[in-house]
Point group: C2
Chain length 191, copies 2
C-alpha cells in the first residue's frame, strides 16, 4: 500500500486502515454493525473509568445524517455525503463524580474512537474522521449542552470507486505517510 | 470475565483487554515488542496527519524507567514498579505547518494510545494507563519543552500473581464495568 510500510507485524486492522474518501453511495451499513462499533468504543479505558465519550450516529437517509451533513465543510460534504453513516464524537468535559475538569476527556475520547475505527476495519467498513465542520451548528441542531465537547465528525461506509471522486479529491485518494518509526520515541530507547 | 459482557463480537483484543495491576516483576519486555507498539501507535489517524504524539519509553532497569517511576504517585508506584516498561505519552499542542493551536492533539494522542494498547494485548502484554503522576517532574526530568503536553503514564508488562498485590490493590484487581451500550449513543439510533 502506498506510503505504508511496517517493520513490525502489527494488527492487520492497523496495517490496512486508512482514511479514504471514495464511499459507495449505494451501500447501507447495518444497525448491527453500527452497534458493534459502539460496543468497541465502549470498552476503551479512561481516566477514573469516566467514559466521557458519546456518539451521535445517523444512517444515510435519516434526519440525524442530514443534520450532520449540513454542518460539514463544503470540501468534506462533497465526498462524505456518500457515506453510509455519519457520526459526531462528543466528550464530557467534567468528571461525573465531582464535577471537576477532566483534563483527559479528549484523550480518552480519542482512545474510544481508536477502538471504534479498528472494529470498523475488521468489519470491512471504511472510516474517515473530519475536523472540518461547524461544531456550533452541531451543538444547536442536536442540543448538545455546554460542558460536552463536540470533537470530530466521522464518515463510515464502504469503499466505492476512486473514479467517482472529483479530480482534486481523486489525486489525494491514497494512504497518508507517517513520520519515521524512530520519531515516535521522544528519547531513543536505551540499550 | 467479571464486569464485561459483549452483545456484539468485537475484536478479541478489545474483549480481553483490561487494566491490571499485578505485573510480573521477573519478566522483561523485548525491544522488538516495544518497537512494535510504537509502530501501532504510529499508524493512528490524526487531524491534518499532524501525528502530534510521541512517547518516552524505558525498560525496567533503565534510567528512563527510573525517571518515570520517580514521578508516579505513591499508590501507582506500589504496583507499577513491577512493570517491564514504563511509558509517558506526550503530545504537541500546535500544528507544525502553521504553529496554530491544534484542538485535536489530545484526541489524536488518545487514538494513538488506543492502537498501542490493542497491539500490546495481541502480543500478550498488559497495559495500565495512569493519570496519577507529577507531570511537571516528567517535564523537568526529560526536558519536555513547553508546547508539548505530558498526558499520561503507562505501565506495560506481563501478568503476574494477584496474590502479590497489597490487600487494597488485590480487592480492585478486576476489569472495570462500563455504562450500558445504549448510553454510547447521545441520541437513539433512528429506525
Amino acid at each position: 500500500m502506498e506510503n505504508r510500510s511496517f517493520t513490525y507485524d502489527v494488527l492487520k486492522e492497523i496495517q490496512n486502515r486508512w482514511s479514504p474518501r471514495a464511499f459507495d453511495a449505494q451501500k447501507e451499513v447495518s444497525r448491527e454493525d453500527l452497534m458493534a462499533l459502539m460496543e468497541a468504543a465502549r470498552y476503551a479505558p479512561s481516566c477514573m473509568n469516566e467514559q466521557p465519550w458519546s456518539y451521535i450516529v445517523g444512517q444515510r437517509g435519516s434526519t440525524v445524517f442530514a443534520g450532520i451533513e449540513a454542518a460539514l465543510s463544503d470540501s468534506n460534504v462533497e465526498w462524505a455525503a456518500n457515506a453510509s453513516a455519519l457520526m459526531v464524537i462528543l466528550s464530557k468535559e467534567q468528571f461525573s463524580h465531582n464535577d471537576r475538569s477532566n483534563r483527559w476527556h479528549l484523550f480518552d475520547a480519542g482512545t474510544s474512537w481508536g477502538y471504534l475505527s479498528l472494529e470498523a476495519q475488521k468489519r470491512g467498513l471504511i472510516t474517515h474522521a473530519m475536523g472540518g465542520f461547524a461544531a456550533d451548528q452541531i451543538r444547536t441542531t442536536f442540543a448538545v449542552p455546554n460542558g460536552v465537547a463536540v470533537i470530530a465528525a466521522v464518515a463510515i461506509g464502504y469503499y466505492g470507486r476512486r473514479e467517482d471522486l472529483s479530480e482534486a479529491m481523486a489525486a489525494r485518494e491514497k494512504p497518508s505517510p507517517r513520520k519515521p518509526l524512530d520519531e515516535m520515541l521522544f528519547i531513543p530507547l536505551e540499550d
